[in-house]
Amino acid sequence: MGLELVSLTKNFPGFTLGPLNLKIDREILVIIGPTGSGKTTVLNLIAGMTEPGGGSVILDGSDITNLPVESRRIGYVFQTPSLFPHLNVYENIIFGLPKRERQQKNLHVKKLLDDLGISHLADRRVQGLSGGEMQKVSLARMLAIEPKIVLLDEPLAHLDPPTRRKLRLELRKILRSQGVPAIYVTHFEEDVYALADSVAVLHNGMIENAGRLETILASETSPFVSEILEEGNYIEGKVVESKGGMTIIKVGSHLLETLGEYSVGSKVGVVVRPEEILLSKEAVKTSARNVMQVQVADVAQEGSMADVQLRTDSLQLRVRVTDEARIELDIKEGDYIYAIFKAISPQVVREES
């Protein structure tokens, strides 16, 4: 069961994608890469919208390379929701179901609407929906046909940041509950932390690194991969307390404070942007809720900025400060200093019970 790409290639004038070899099971694979790296083409090849130059696509054990798009039973969500404007929300969602199956699939559709929290929209016209609602309807429409694999092409890219964060947090649960493989294509690093079981980094048409998220995060990667994946600081921990709009997360020996409420005991992943962390020689008292003692592991100057790698017994942080500030504070490798950031900085991107 699952999807397998075998030496899949596609040639464009001036650009070659592949050969790609990839195998995924019932998991969420996030393919990350910059614009023009061929991400969308990978999805189009799997969906059958683009004809490959060579190689094959194998889904659930059968070769579908030459199957027409409509016979593949693939769920594909695009950047824009593309809801049919001449149909209402419910009609959109059942569009893919053959007429004779609609009756028996009624319960399945109802559950989908409930799971996505859009039952109340069923009779609405699609024109009045918000961006997030539209994308949820397009997700429901795709899941209604019970696809054998789900492909998502930056479905959150056009949403406003708060909606994107919210839907991203829900998306992992929704996709996991389907029990089918999913490939999610993005250029947002947060999407990787929020959704991935495994990660593939696409660079100039080739997969530069693929593997389980934890392996990729732990291992030494190519400069390109680390450039893409280590923009922010990804930290995993366990919720120990959550009330009054505040949550305390235990990470090794540290307690991180962040905004929002999550179930106590659940495992969460947060991202802290390197430019949102302050460095101090002393544990000064400020309004910032997170202060931790760290050791400087590495200092690298990049133009007017300095990249400072910090380490404790249980986590690593990357911090960006101006090089001037670094010189004034005299931050050197091996020093013990303090990293300070506000409770609003850690963004919860992943929650698993």
Binding site: G75, Y76, P85
Partner: protein
């Protein structure tokens, strides 16, 4: 209101001058178009009108035009909509040439089109000889002429309609398991509906009013245009008025129907 704000922001007097010039130019054209229609009612001689209406061949000619135009337009829809779709959605060598070919009937004067058609369907042509049917001087001849001359309206407007349909809807339908035909019928066609209806109406109106090509192909039986032409030639200007009034009445109805459809669609599509 917005225009007013804009012009006052730049130059008040300049904006006013622009407004006056454009008002005069556009107003003059509107009067030029509408006044003859309004004027016809003032030059009717009641006795001649009654006498003319009593002649059934005006009504018959009008009816013949409506029926033949409807058949022609249905034929155009059947062949023209798929053609328009292919011209929009598929790329192939010679596509540009096809796009030029479809506007031939629009640029060739209708009388000349009629001559071209006679060359094919005339009694001494190959086609005319091959079939035991009267292509000329018959209802079939009228339909052939109307279909030829009105075809660009159907094709061009359907093309524009399909062009306005975002291809992503079709992609989504295909991924959701619908074949090309079902995708066309359930997505492309409904989304292009307003434009296609516009094409249907324009082609139909053109077919009803067709004179030149019909004259060459089938002077008889008379369509309404030929009837008006003949009434003028034989009986003079006053004789044409009943036919003209019928045609005007039809135009008013068509315009009303078209506006209603457009407005209804507009509400639905949120324009």
């Amino acid at each position: 209101m917005k225009q007013k704000d804009l012009s006052s922001g730049i130059s008040r007097s300049g904006g006013r001058g622009f407004g006056i010039i454009f008002l005069i130019l556009s107003g003059a054209l509107i009067v030029y178009i509408a006044y003859p229609v309004a004027n016809i009612t003032t030059i009717i001689e009641p006795t001649t009108l009654l006498e003319s209406i009593a002649r059934p061949h005006v009504a018959n000619a009008f009816l013949l035009s409506l029926v033949t135009a409807t058949i022609s337009t249905l034929l155009l829809a059947l062949f023209g909509i798929p053609l328009a779709y292919c011209l929009v959605r598929y790329d192939f060598p010679g596509k540009f040439l096809l796009k030029v070919i479809v506007i031939i009937p629009l640029v060739i004067p209708p009388l000349a089109s009629g001559t071209l058609l006679l060359g094919i369907f005339g009694p001494y042509s190959t086609v005319g000889q091959a079939f035991p049917v009267e292509f000329t001087q018959s209802v079939i001849g009228i339909i052939i002429a109307q279909t030829y001359v009105s075809s660009p309206f159907m094709i061009l407007l359907a093309q524009a309609a399909f062009e306005s349909v975002d291809e992503s809807y079709e992609k989504v339908a295909r991924v959701l398991g619908k074949g090309r035909l079902e995708t066309f019928l359930r997505v492309s066609l409904p989304l292009a509906k307003t434009g296609i209806i516009a094409g249907f109406i324009m082609a139909w109106v053109r077919a009803v009013g067709e004179l030149g090509a019909t004259m060459m192909m089938a002077y008889n039986p008379h369509t309404i245009s030929i009837q008006i032409f003949e009434d003028n030639a034989i009986g003079g200007f006053q004789q044409t008025i009943p036919g003209v009034l019928l045609v005007i009445l039809m135009s008013v109805i068509v315009l009303a129907v078209f506006s209603a459809i457009k407005k209804g669609e507009g509400l639905k599509l949120g324009w």
